[in-house]
Each structure stands twice: as structure tokens, then as C-alpha cells.
Symmetry: C2
Amino acid sequence: MIFPLSRAVETRSGDPLQMQKNLRKPTLSEVAALAGVSEITVSRALRGSSMVTADTIRKVQVAAESLGYLRNRLAGALAGGPSNQVGVILPSLSNIVFPDVLKGLEDRLEHAGFHPVLGISNYDPEKEEHLIRNLLSWRPAGLVIAATSMTATSRGLLAASGLPVVEIMDIDTPPIDMAVGMSHRAAGLDMARHLIGRGYRHLAYVGHDIGRDNRAMARLQGFRSGLQEAGLALEGQVVLTEPSSVALGRRGLAQLLQANPKQVDLVYFSNDDMAVGGVFHCMAEGISIPGQLAIAGFNGLDLGQSLPRRLTTTASHRSRIGEMAARVILERLNGQETVHLTDVGFTLIAGETA
Amino acid sequence: MIFPLSRAVETRSGDPLQMQKNLRKPTLSEVAALAGVSEITVSRALRGSSMVTADTIRKVQVAAESLGYLRNRLAGALAGGPSNQVGVILPSLSNIVFPDVLKGLEDRLEHAGFHPVLGISNYDPEKEEHLIRNLLSWRPAGLVIAATSMTATSRGLLAASGLPVVEIMDIDTPPIDMAVGMSHRAAGLDMARHLIGRGYRHLAYVGHDIGRDNRAMARLQGFRSGLQEAGLALEGQVVLTEPSSVALGRRGLAQLLQANPKQVDLVYFSNDDMAVGGVFHCMAEGISIPGQLAIAGFNGLDLGQSLPRRLTTTASHRSRIGEMAARVILERLNGQETVHLTDVGFTLIAGETA
DNA sequence: CCACCGATTGACAGCGCTGTCATTCAGTGA
DNA sequence: TCACTGAATGACAGCGCTGTCAATCGGTGG
């Protein structure tokens, strides 16, 4: 364990000078007075309304500039103007998956002048409900949620909000409003079929906290169905109740091989981080991949594709999910017809580890 | 390249029913009428004011519940109540570093009932300025920014805002208001000294887009100073103008070794992702680590510590930075005395790759 | 019995902006 | 010449809430 040191280098007291500045922010009416027009004209000019003369716009801009005027969106949104905030609830930020989604989402939102307001649920339905309530109380323009298993109240809140609501990541359950994602069940099934087609017959699974991550659970179910189709069953399984990580995957494989020596010829991991951990374990123990043991993951991370042998995995289109989520929200806000269910699909990567 | 497929499974038009619901959200006064008290009493009861009878609170809660009342923070904040939003500007989400920071930040903010409002600058000062203006216009309670090189206007906006502003990640330049981070220069210097102490004399560097990531730049400068102290200089250098990734590190090392065959005995990478790429390159090419070539990185990611041989690197305390940033903001908001500069330090990890 | 007190509750104004109507005014065709 | 038109601007009210001060009221000590 590594402990950080925190050191206070310099201190000061609660600066009254800055507080003062805070008190007197110029308002629309001050800009209006300076520009010699009415408040509403300033409002329109600054928002780029088409019914203000170029001349007036210039005057207003000069006045606003010279006063250091900064629009107050709080007042604007309250007065009936549009909000440009979008609530975003994610279960975690501990691996790159949700940041990827968030990146795609932020990118598209930003282009349209919107901002994500973030909440992390930690896979906790109670906290999720709490976050929904909180974010909704800011009257956002929409909500994006990578839900864990939502409470009835959560669903009710979202349905009653009347806002565009996008449930992201998986499309295996019918959405309240809209959904963007992929079928994790299908991804697991697809991988099972692929591996069986490659000749593997003694398959095992190493997973992370599956009780909370129901998408990993869905993949496992799909994988099992695939085995069943071929008259097979999992010959070993290690599920550790911790968040996924490379270290956990390494530990998990060690544990699996200790319990099931020899007979296993392939291990399906709950995701790429875990799988890379498995690869590292093999490297450290001199187990040849895929000769002695084959390995497959899920996500298609850069990491796995940069291994000495490219990881066999399923690419999920994460930033695409974020982008599409932003897109359907923006479409809805524009009054356009929107898609209820968007399947961004997945792509099997036949790498060199299985 | 892998292309996603997007498929519209179901469509519908811009639901007028939901719009309706949206129109009639119950307000304070409706709750007040139902509970038989005044608006302000409802307001106080719902906010947990101490000067409302337990009895009244119960009445109000029942009324609010039965109407499905949802507080409007927009109105509250406009009327002078506190905002619980904190603007957060980060340069990127493409590796785990900033998500780690964000995680620590969100966690602490959430405990205090605050939400981060996010903006990604993409290391672009113009966009950063734009984001500052936008986020400020929502009158947040504070702002956290992992700045790239800020424009004068950006600095002016922040200074004039009168808000608690925390510049995070590095403390190498004096902050506008508060800073939380570490000295990247010192980290580079520290690593150079460590490696020289271990006997390495022919050192090279492989880095990513250093023109934009000025923290990586600071580490390199520190590293160079360390070499200079010992009468040494970099014997090779590859800097690729792309965002860092495992794949890029792998490519970068290949390029370096092609240009400088043999003589180099250690490569310092701009971060762990890059360094792991370097390790993978060596594995693939049969170069022994650290015998033929030693490798060092920066960040102390789980990934590097799970390699067959633990990566030699410097652990940055990322989630700690987020936590401390939240902390100083909350302290300031509580009117407490705050620390101007918080150094969370770093920890050299003497791994097995150098 | 009365001025006084602390604990509750309420009336009121206004936060800063925008939607919804007027209003103004130069130009237009009959 | 005159009603009429469209473009530009403005007056007004109010979004939903909270800070500030005032009012109420049962209890208290002198």
C-alpha cells in the first residue's frame, strides 16, 4: 500500500474581497441601460435572435463586454428558456468503459452547447434513485442513465419527468423511454459459438462482481446458452466479488487453475481488464497461450489489442453509445421523431489468444 | 478498424402526452395549499430547517409525497439559495487518469450533496475558455479545473467570479485561487535520480503529445535535470504527436530502437500506458527486461503493477487529488479557512522493470 | 395581571431572465 | 394621400423559490 502525503504549503482566511466581487455581477438591465436599449433587446441580441439589427447587436455586445456581463442561465431557464444541462448517471468510473461512453456523450453534447451533470451510482439502486431525484430537481433537458437494477420509484420518477430519458449500455430490457446499447446476452452467445467453432471443449469462466454488474451477468448467461447448444457446460468458474481489474483477473485465473488443474483449455473472462490479468498470469507462470490455455475477454480495449498476442475479445462500441445517446436526446429536444431502441451492435475480434 | 452498426429497431413521434405531464409540475404553493400552511413553511420543512415543528414537517411531507412534488433547484438557486453544482473541466477522458480524479471528486461532492457539471477541453485553451464561460453562467458553487495553458481571459473570468476555484493536477505554477496536485517536475527528477542510482547510464525517452500535455512536459524537464546533475543527457527520444495509449507506447519504442540500436539501456516513458506498450514490444521481440532494456513509466496504474514483472514507475495519487479538491471547495463554502496550495505528493515504485 | 420572550409561522418582495403580447415606424401599393 | 405591412423594439408579467422582517401565541417571571 502506498500512502499519499498531504502538505499544506500556504494558508489564508476566507477572503472577503472576493466575496464582494461576487455580490455585484452585472445584470441584463445594466447592460441595457449602458447600451441604451431595453432588457429584452439585450437578451435577444446576446442570444443571437434574428430580429435584432446588426447595429443593435454590436452596441449591446460592446456594452456587455465593457461591463464583463455573464449571462445567468439559472434565471433564463427558470423564466422558460431552455436548459442545456443533461443529467448523466453512471455506475462507476473505475475502468475505461464508462469514461469512453462519457467521452462520446460529452463530445456530442458540447457541440450542441449542452453539459453533462454527473452522478455515480456505484451500482447501488438506492443511490441511483437519490441521484435521479437530485438531477431532476435541476430541471435538465434530458437524462442519460446506465442503470443498475432500478427501483420502482426510480422508474416512476423518470417516466413522470416527461423528459427525454435514455437508458444506455444494454438493450436486453424494454426501456422507459429510449435505449441505446447492445445485447450483452448476444455477445456472450456469439463468443461461445466462435470458441466452440475453434475447437475448444473445456471452457471455464473468471468473473468479477457479477451480482452488481448485470451486464457481465447477461454475457455469462449468453455464453452458457452457447455451450448448451453444443451439449457442453462450464467446467470451472471463479467469481470474485470485487470490481474488475487487471490484478483481479490475474488472481482469479490463479485461483481457477488451482481448483481445476489441467482439464480446462479456455477461460472466458468477464471483461478485457480481467482477461489481460489472466494473460499476465500465464506469462508469469510460463503457460503458453493459446497452446496450453486460451483466453477470451470482452470490450476490445486498446490494452488487449496491444498485447504481444492480440486478445480474442468482443469489441463494444462504447463512445458510439455515448454519441448515439446524445443524438437521440438532441433529436427529441428538436421535436424530431426519435428511435426507441438503438442497437449499436458489437464486433467479435478473433485475436491470437484463442 | 472496426465499424459499428446502428440499427433503428422501433420508432415513434415526439410524444405529446409526455410533454403535457412536463407542463404541470406541482409547485411549492400547491403543496402549501394541500398541507394548509404557507409556502415558506413548506420550503423550510422540505429543507429540514430546525424551526419547523415535527408535526408540520410530517404534514408537509405527506402533502409533497401525494402530489409527487419535486423541488426546483433552479428557482431556489436564483432566489438566493445555495447552488450545489460544481463546474469541472478536464482535458480528456481517454485514459484512466482523469476518470480516477473525477471519481475521487464526485465521491466527496456527492457526500455533501453536490454534483459535478462536466466539460472536456481536449487540451484546447479556446475551448477551455468557452467552457469556463458556460459553466460559470450556471452560477455554480465552485469550479475545479485541470487546466491546460489558460488564456488571459480564462484567468480573468475565474478571478472575477469570486468563486472557489481549484486548479488540479500540478502545483508547478502559482494558482489563481487554490491548487491541488503534485510537482511533475519533481517526479521526473526523482525518477532520474533513482535510475541513475541503479546504474543506468544510457537513457532515452518515449513520449506522447507533449505540446499539449504540459504535465508530461514538466516530468521530462525534471528528468533531464536529473540526468544533467549526473553529467548525462538523453541518448534518444521519440515523441509522437498523438494521445497516449498502450499501442502508441509499443510503436514508440519500436521506433526508438530502430533509430538507436543497442546503446540505450533504459527508456523513460511519458506514462504507464505508454510504458506498458513498451513492455509488450519487448515481449514480442524477445528483448529481456530489465537485462537488455529497462523500462520506467509514470502513474502507478493497476495495469503496470499486474505485469509479470511489476513496472517501475511513480505513483500519482489521482483520486486523492479529486478528494482534496472537493474538500477545499467545501471548506471554502463553509466559510472555513482554506489551504492555498495542497501538495498530495507522489511515490516512487521501484518495480522489476528497471 | 402584564410586559416580555422564544419558538413558529407567515407576508412580501425580488432573484435575473424570457415569453407574450403590444407598439413604433418607415416603406408600400392602391 | 392613406390604410396596411413587416421589421424592430419594448412593456409587462411571472417562472418557483428563499431571505428578510413582521406577526402570532402560549408560557414566564415580577
